[in-house]
Amino acid sequence: MEHNGAILTVQDLRKYFPVRGGLLQTVQAQVQAVDGVSFDVRRGEILGIVGESGCGKSTTARLILRLIEPDAGAVRFDSQDMLRASPVELKAFRRQVQMVFQDPYSSLNPRMNIEDAVAFNVLVHGASRSEARAKAWDVLNKVGLRAEQFGRRYPHELSGGQRQRVNIARALVLDPKLIILDEPVSSLDKSVQAQVLNLLQNLKNDLGLTYLFISHDLHVIEYLSDRVLVMYLGQVVEMGSAEEVAVAPLHPYTQALFASTPSMNPDARLERPPLTGDPPNPINPPSGCRFRTRCPHAMESCAAANPPLLPMGSNGRQVACYLYGNQTTTRG
């Protein structure tokens, strides 16, 4: 049963990493990597998560799959909280939600050939060798790699783009409902990026998939996503449909992000960089709103308390900024 057509619901996800130091290597501070992140992924959409390095988007992806154990929060899939699931339920969950990793070089076992690498996922869930191999071949063909030719090859014989296709094939082989893609094209050349993005689009349409797409590249996010979620220092600052957020970003950080992508159009070039200062330390984030130290519109209330993520209008648009009212409500 879904809830508003949502296939996955993330609620108040939190993860802090301890920092050790000093004489006895005691815990001295915490890296607040993910701090109270909540969102829905709707069936059939592509939800893009965008943000700079260190904002917590990759960590969020791993928390959803429990590759890293969250400190707090809930992850609901099919209205079941996966953070409290048993190992059996977790295994079934992992069939339905798969991940495509970023680095085409270290994400494939160098000593396994392609068809074995893909078939492994199927074998894990109890299929026979021949079944697994057949499925692997089928899915390899779907991603554009001729199985007879590529199956017995090893990762070192393939190019970066080809390896990412294998990654995608591996994620597809179990017929998942949701695929999380963590910067899948960031390590590829531009022309290859385009090919892989097109492939992802076609696969989604042909197979009826849902994507959670993570990237720091705004153009890629814009091109591919239906809805966009912007993260800053472990928190969600804005959410909405891709066109709306791109055309009229509300949060000052989103505005700065979209303004700072270098433009090919000489008339649109800026005089001053829209975003100044260094990104603050996730170990010691500023009090109140985390963006206030770099925000051109910072007010007094911004230092007092963290603005909550609140709806703007009826379209599912959400912003976390006092510019849009609600200075009195606080969040944890």
Partner: protein, 306 residues
């Protein structure tokens, strides 16, 4: 518009996806086939391998190759020079044929040199992989325990253990196994920790596989190869130390033939017949050098590019 089309999106819209790609040319080569191919082109390593094979074979076939009994002594024929008819390599201080003793000696020296490394490989890998995979307090416990043995220089430790246990081949093997286990354990732990951080390990977990399946299918092959290469570099050292122990009288005891032991007993005869006295060392040198070259070649051939 606050931005314009980027090159990515333009390219993407201009292309059509869904074509099947062309594959790489040539025969598909697995990692091990690649290693073999590299090894075949390395002349030095091939020669070294041939030499080792020759030494091993001659040791195994000693009963058939040796012209005389290794224990047959004759006071009359003491310290015959190299080239004496009937004794191609001369005789030792008790009149025993050198060629035969060298051949039989190979058995002892090779066993004393290679066996400890194999045992240490087993013990060290288990400890190190366990520590590396489980991590946390178990890792700390195992590695600290291993570190204590690192406080001793290897020869000193070998002598100390041998001295405590007494002479004999068995004790030599035990002593050297203890000496070589810590370095192998350290390498094993380091490699395991490294491999554990590679993304394909995460991908395997994301597929829903259990810990055992992940270790079996993904980790072991990647981890064992570097450990094995490291262990192979220890063999040449082991041969030298093992013979060295016998040289000191802590290893194999007389009248057995062993290269180190022979060097010792022939020491007094260097004034009379220096060439014969030096011969056993030639064997130790050749064996150690060949293993060194072989392990170097193996390391180069097995260099993994991710």
């Amino acid at each position: 518009m606050m931005h314009d089309q980027s090159d990515v999106t333009a390219l993407a819209q201009a292309q059509t996806a869904g074509e099947l790609l062309e594959g790489p040319v040539g025969k598909p080569m697995s990692y091990w086939q690649l290693v073999w191919w590299r090894l075949q082109r390395d002349k030095v390593t091939l020669v070294a391998a041939a030499v080792i094979l020759g030494i091993i074979l001659s040791a195994v076939l000693a009963p058939y190759l040796a012209p005389h009994e290794p224990f047959q002594s004759s006071i009359r024929k003491r310290l015959a020079k190299v080239g004496t008819p009937g004794h191609v390599l001369g005789t030792d201080e008790q009149g025993r044929d050198m060629l035969s003793r060298l051949l039989y000696g190979g058995r002892m020296s090779l066993v004393a040199g290679v066996t400890p490394v194999l045992i240490a490989l087993l013990a060290g890998s288990t400890l190190g992989i366990l520590a590396g995979f489980v991590g946390g307090p178990l890792n700390l416990l195992i590695m600290r325990g291993v570190d204590i043995f690192f406080a001793f220089p290897s020869i000193l430790l070998a002598i100390a253990i041998s001295g405590a246990l007494g002479a004999g081949l068995k004790n030599t093997i035990i002593a050297l196994s203890i000496v070589f286990t810590p370095p192998i354990a350290r390498v094993a732990e380091s490699v395991t920790t490294q491999v554990r951080g590679w993304e394909f390990m995460e991908a395997a977990r994301a597929s829903g596989a259990g810990t055992v399946a992940i270790i079996r299918h993904h980790m072991i092959a990647n981890v064992l190869a570097p450990i094995f290469v490291y262990a192979s570099t220890l063999i040449s050292v082991s041969v030298i130390i093992a013979s060295g122990l016998s040289f000191l009288g802590l290893g194999v005891s007389p009248p057995n033939a062993e290269w180190g032991l022979m060097l010792n007993t022939l020491r007094g005869s260097i004034y009379v017949n220096p060439l014969v006295a030096a011969l056993p060392g030639v064997m130790i040198f050749m064996t150690s050098m060949s293993f060194n070259l072989l392990s170097d070649g193996l390391r180069d051939a097995m260099d993994v590019r991710l």
